[in-house]
Amino acid sequence: MSSATSPAAPGAARPAARRSRDWRRTFDRFGDGALYGVCALAVAIAVGALALSAYQVFDHASPAISKFGLGFLTSAEWQPNFDVYGAGTLLYGTLVSSFFALLIGGPIAISIGLYLSLLAPKGVRGVVSPLVEMLAAIPSVILGFWGLILLAPFVQQHVEPFLHDNFGFIPLFGAPQTTGASVFTASLILTIMVIPIIASISRDLFLAVPRDVQDGASALGATRWEVVRGIVLPTTAPGVIAASLLGLGRALGEAIAVSQLIGAGEKIDVSLFETGDTLAARIANQFPGAITEMHKASLYYCAAILLAIVLASNLGAQWIGRRFDYRRMAE
C-alpha cells in the first residue's frame, strides 16, 4: 500500500519503484476482474439453480403432462394401483387449507403488526417482536408433531364439536371425525406458520407511515382507531396485501406439518373436519415409495402445479410491493 499512498515520487529516477507499481497495477486490474468474475459466477449459480429447478420439475413431469393433460387438474382420481392419477383433490385441499390459514391468520397478524408498531410501549415491543419472529423459526416437523399429539386431539374433542353444534348449518362445519387429523387442523398449523411472516412485514410497514400525518389526524380529534382506519391501513394496504400473498405462498408450499395432520384423504369434502390432502403433502408422502414411472411423473406434475401457484403468489407479492414503493417515492 505504501507505494500507492506515498506522494508522487520522481518516477523516472527510480525505475525499480515504477516497475513494482506497474506490476501492482496489472495485478490490481487482474484482481478487480477476478473479483467481478467470481461474484458474477456466484450470481449465475444462484439464478441457474432456480431456473434449472423449474426446468427439471417440468421436464420430469412431461410423461404425466402428456398422458393426463390439463384434465389432471380437475380429476379427483388418484389410484396408484391402476396407474391413474389426478390432482383435483390435492389442488382443492391445498387451496382450501391455505385460504383458511390466511383467513384466520391474516387479521391476527395485522393486529399484531398494529400492536407492535402503534400501541406497545418500547420495552414490550423489544420483547414481543423477536418472540413473534421466533415463531417462524420453529421447524415445521416439530410444529407438525406438536399438532399431531396435542393440538389435533384438543381440536377434535372441543373445537370441532363446538363449531358443529353451533354453526352446523354451515356445510363447512360437518360432523367431527374420530381422529383429529383434518383439513381444519392442518389449517390451524398453517395459521401459526403464516402469522409471523405477515406480522413482521406489516409491523415494518406501519412503522414507516409518517408520524406527522398521524399526529395531524389526532390533532383534528381522530381517535386511535380512526387514525388506523383512516390513515395507517389505507396507505399501507398494498403492502399488507403483498405480505399476505407471501404468507399464502408459505402455506401453499408447506409439506411436512400438513402431511402429519391432514390425514391423507382421497376425496373432496365440503366439511373442513374431514381428511384431505395437499399437493406438497402428497409429494412428501408418496415420493419415496413411488415405484411406477407414471406415479413418479404424476408427483412431479403435482410439484409443477405447486411451483406455478407459489411462483404466481410470490411474484404477485413482489409486483404489488414494488408498485407500492414507487407510489411512496412519488409522494
Binding site: V43, S111, F145, W146, N314
Partner: protein, 291 residues
C-alpha cells in the same frame, strides 16, 4: 349530524357520539393487543410442551447412543449436513451480495427478485429438484445431495442478510479507500467485508437455523439409513434429526413419541439458541457500525 349551534361557553365534555368513538377505539386497541397475546401464547405453549415432554426423554445416553436408545448418530449427521451446506451456501451467498452492492447496476433488480423468489420457494420443490438432478442420476441418496438442497434454502437468507449489512457500510469508507489508491478488489476484501463480518455471521447463523430443521427435502434425498451407528460418508445417506422425528411421528408408538419429543427438544433448543445468538450478534454489530 344534527349538532346544536356552536356554543363557545359549553364545557368540553364528551357527547354520546364521542363516547361511542372512544369505545370503538378502545375495543380495537384491545383487539390488537389480544392478537399479540395470542401469538406469544402459541409460541409459549409450543415451546413449553416440547420442553416438558422432551426433558423427560433427555439423558446422556439419549444424546450419545444410536437407535433405539438415542439420537447420537442423527445429531452428528445433521451437523455434517448443515456444515457442508454452509460451506457451499456461504461463499456463494456472500459473493452474490457483493455483486449486488458493488457491481449491481441494471442486473441488481432481477437478481434481487430471484433471491426473493428463492426465499419463498417451497422446500419440498427444492427436494424434488435435487432428487431429479442428483439422486435419480446416481441411483442413491446421499448426504452431499441433501446438503446441496439445504444450501439452496440457505442461499437467499445469507445473500439478502449480507446485502443488508454491506449497504450499511458507510460510503465514506469506500471513498477513502479509493482516494488512497486502493483498488476495488482490495477494498472489498480488506475494508468492506471485514467491517460487515458481524452481519455476515448473523445471516449465516440464521441460515443454519433454518436449514437444521428443514425436513421436506431430506425425506426425498436422505431418509433411508440405519440410525444405530454414526456414518459420515458424504456419498451415502446419513442419519439426521428432522427425518428421525418425522419417522417416529408416523410410527405412532408411545415410546417412539417419547423419543420424538426428546429429539424435537434438542433440535428446537439448538435452533432457538442460534436465533438468539444471531440477534445478539446483529445488535452488537449494528451498534458498532452506527456512528
Amino acid at each position: 349530524m344534527g349538532e346544536p349551534a356552536f356554543d363557545p361557553a359549553a364545557p368540553l365534555t364528551p357527547t354520546g357520539n364521542l363516547r361511542r368513538r372512544r369505545a370503538v377505539s378502545r375495543v380495537a386497541e384491545s383487539g390488537a393487543t389480544l392478537g399479540a397475546a395470542i401469538a406469544v401464547a402459541v409460541l409459549g405453549i409450543v415451546v413449553y410442551s416440547v420442553f416438558v415432554h422432551g426433558v423427560s426423554a433427555l439423558s446422556l445416553d439419549f444424546l450419545l447412543e444410536g437407535e433405539p436408545d438415542g439420537i447420537g448418530p442423527a445429531l452428528v449427521g445433521t451437523a455434517e449436513l448443515v456444515l457442508i451446506a454452509t460451506l457451499i451456501a456461504m461463499p456463494i451467498g456472500v459473493l452474490v451480495a457483493v455483486y449486488l452492492v458493488e457491481f449491481g447496476g441494471r442486473l441488481a433488480a432481477p437478481i434481487r427478485l430471484t433471491l426473493d423468489v428463492m426465499n419463498g420457494y417451497p422446500s419440498i420443490i427444492v427436494g424434488v429438484f435435487i432428487f431429479a438432478l442428483i439422486v435419480e442420476a446416481t441411483h442413491k441418496q446421499s448426504a452431499i445431495a441433501a446438503s446441496i438442497a439445504l444450501a439452496m434454502i440457505m442461499l437467499s437468507i445469507i445473500a439478502r442478510g449480507t446485502e443488508e449489512v454491506l449497504r450499511l457500510v458507510p460510503d465514506a469508507m469506500r471513498e477513502a479507500a479509493a482516494a488512497l489508491g486502493v483498488s476495488r478488489w482490495r477494498a472489498v476484501l480488506t475494508v468492506i467485508l471485514p467491517s460487515a463480518m458481524g452481519g455476515i455471521a448473523t445471516a449465516t447463523i440464521l441460515g443454519v437455523a433454518r436449514a437444521a430443521g428443514e425436513t421436506a427435502p431430506l425425506i426425498l434425498i436422505d431418509s433411508v439409513w440405519d440410525g444405530s451407528h454414526v456414518s459420515l460418508d458424504p456419498l451415502g445417506p446419513v442419519p439426521n434429526i428432522p427425518v428421525t422425528i418425522y419417522k417416529l411421528s408416523e410410527e405412532a408408538s408411545p415410546e417412539g413419541f417419547a423419543r420424538a419429543w426428546g429429539a424435537g427438544f434438542v433440535l428446537l433448543f439448538l435452533i432457538m439458541l442460534a436465533n438468539v445468538g444471531a440477534r445478539v450478534l446483529l445488535a452488537r454489530s449494528r451498534r458498532r457500525m452506527a456512528p
